[in-house]
């Protein structure tokens, strides 16, 4: 199972590295434009990029290169749903993709983490094409998380919960498929849960019970529980 996993990554990287570079370049341009010149068309383009890269992971990575793996079609459906979450966002203008608060600066750190994937692989003694790259599912999820954290005035919660779910899947792969790079996603997505949900509590401004403080304690406790479970697992 582990061998098939790494072989599929190698064949994917060997065949698609120019496309991957194009995706990375497009992501960099869109991120910089959103940070420095946030216009309406840039926001739309960023959401379109999320849709395209989600579909790329679903169809190109899972259905073409990883089809030898068991249940790869399930993961393809999952990434299609991720694409659907972004399409819904695009149509309804659900998230604003605008900067807000200190989390934006934390988001910048998360945004560059996908670039660390190949370096971690190389430092572990792997050689191209059998290394993790920034356009693999977990690295893409990490980039999406970084975008949500950086431009967090009003976020796409559907996409975030999908990313949180993916981080659970990814973290289990650390031991199953020997891919410690995925710890980056889990380490980022759990604190993001606290940040995003406590922010959404503030927007409700005390209309509900229990109090915001109690719910914040619950969210923090769940975050600790999740982190503890992941470590125990």
């Amino acid at each position: 199972m582990k061998e098939i996993f790494w072989n599929t990554i190698a064949s994917y990287n060997a065949a698609t590295w120019p496309w991957q570079l194009a995706f990375i370049a497009a992501a960099a341009v869109l991120t910089l434009l959103l940070w420095f010149r946030p216009r309406r068309w840039v926001r739309i383009a960023a959401k379109l990029y999320m849709v395209i890269i989600s579909l790329w992971i679903a169809f190109v990575y899972y259905l073409k290169f990883a089809s030898a793996r068991e249940h790869s079609e399930v993961l393809a459906i999952f990434w299609c749903m991720m694409a659907l979450a972004w399409i819904y966002d695009l149509v309804t203008n659900f998230s604003s993709f605008s900067r807000s608060g200190k989390a934006s600066y934390w988001g910048l750190i998360v945004l560059v983490l996908p670039l660390a994937y190949p370096f971690i692989s190389i430092s572990r003694g792997f050689v191209f094409p059998g290394i993790t790259m920034p356009v693999l599912p977990s690295a893409v999820a990490l980039y999406m998380l970084g975008m949500l954290m950086t431009f967090n005035e009003k976020i796409n919660f559907f996409a975030y919960i999908f990313i949180l779910h993916w981080s659970i899947i990814a973290i289990s792969k650390i031991t199953l498929f020997d891919i410690p790079e995925d710890i980056l996603l889990a380490v980022s997505s759990i604190p993001a849960m606290v940040i995003f949900f406590t922010r959404s509590l503030k927007s409700m401004s005390g209309k509900f019970k229990p109090s915001d403080k109690t719910v914040t304690v619950l969210i923090s406790a769940v975050a600790v529980l999740l982190a503890g479970s992941l470590l125990a697992g």
Binding site: L75, F78, I161, F162, H165, M204, L218, S229
Partner: protein, 255 residues
């Protein structure tokens, strides 16, 4: 008691019973509480209920003046708090000989209490479903997957309900989304992945309508009881449709 006073009392009791029925209280309790409340306010109350509407006739014990109301039953979220508070109100009116004005004021205070925080409910439901997964023998990975799959499914349900989408469609979509997310655990090859898949939709099971339906039937409110059970059954069919779509897509042999 004047005709106006009787009409006012009928209006209030109609509102009281519609709120209780709407919040998911079983019929015999609603009838008992409404009659107790009527008794405390000096009137006799006769009630007929159905799934969508309720009819009550209020009569003055002395003058034989009758007043009838037919009310729609609003669909509130199921609230055990309203159930307990409004039942207690009928006892308070009975024991403390409260006037209609006092009872009405108290009622308004009780029903205007803040609702449950949706984020709190989202986390509690996800934790509850992960616990179910453990009870059915799921390991730590299955529990974690169930937790986040439930979170996605329940968030979808909250969002679609807010958008006033038909609740049968909401159930189908939510069951599909939760189960397809839980099915991602199959790719990991963990031994209890199927438990995660099966328990991911348990948060949708309409337990309260099922229990209320049975209580209604055993208490003799057979018509309302059957309607409630049929309604619950329809929701269970919707869950089955959502789960079946996932199984057809990912694990055909399970169907």
């Amino acid at each position: 008691m004047t005709r106006e006073q009787i009409a006012e009392t009928a209006d209030f009791i109609a509102r009281y019973l519609s709120y209780m029925l709407g919040a998911g209280v079983h019929t015999s309790r609603v009838v008992r509480n409404s009659k107790r409340l009527g008794n405390a306010l000096g009137v006799d109350v006769a009630i007929h209920t159905s799934q969508k509407t309720a009819m009550l006739t209020v009569s003055d014990k002395d003058s034989n003046v009758l007043n009838t109301r037919v009310v729609d039953i609003p669909s509130f979220p199921i609230s055990f708090e309203w159930n307990a508070d409004l039942s207690a109100l009928s006892w308070a009116a009975h024991d403390r000989k409260m006037t209609l004005e006092e009872v009405r004021r108290e009622f308004d205070t009780l029903v205007s209490k803040p609702g449950m925080n949706p984020v709190f409910v989202l986390f509690m439901v996800s934790l509850a479903n992960a616990s179910f997964c453990r009870l059915f023998g799921g390991d730590i990975w299955a529990m974690l997957v169930t937790f986040t799959a439930t979170m996605i499914g329940f968030f979808t349900r909250q969002h679609l309900t807010k958008k006033k989408v038909n609740h049968y469609i909401v159930f189908i979509v939510s069951a599909f989304v939760a189960s397809i997310c839980a099915s991602t655990s199959l790719s990991l090859g963990i031994p209890t992945a199927e438990i995660a898949l099966a328990t991911s939709v348990l948060y949708l099971v309409p337990g309260v309508p099922l229990i209320n339906g049975l209580i209604d039937i055993t208490d003799g409110h057979i018509q309302t009881g059957i309607s409630r059970i049929v309604n619950a059954f329809m929701l269970i069919v919707c869950i089955a449709i959502g789960l079946s779509i996932t199984l057809i897509l990912v694990k055909n042999s399970l169907l």
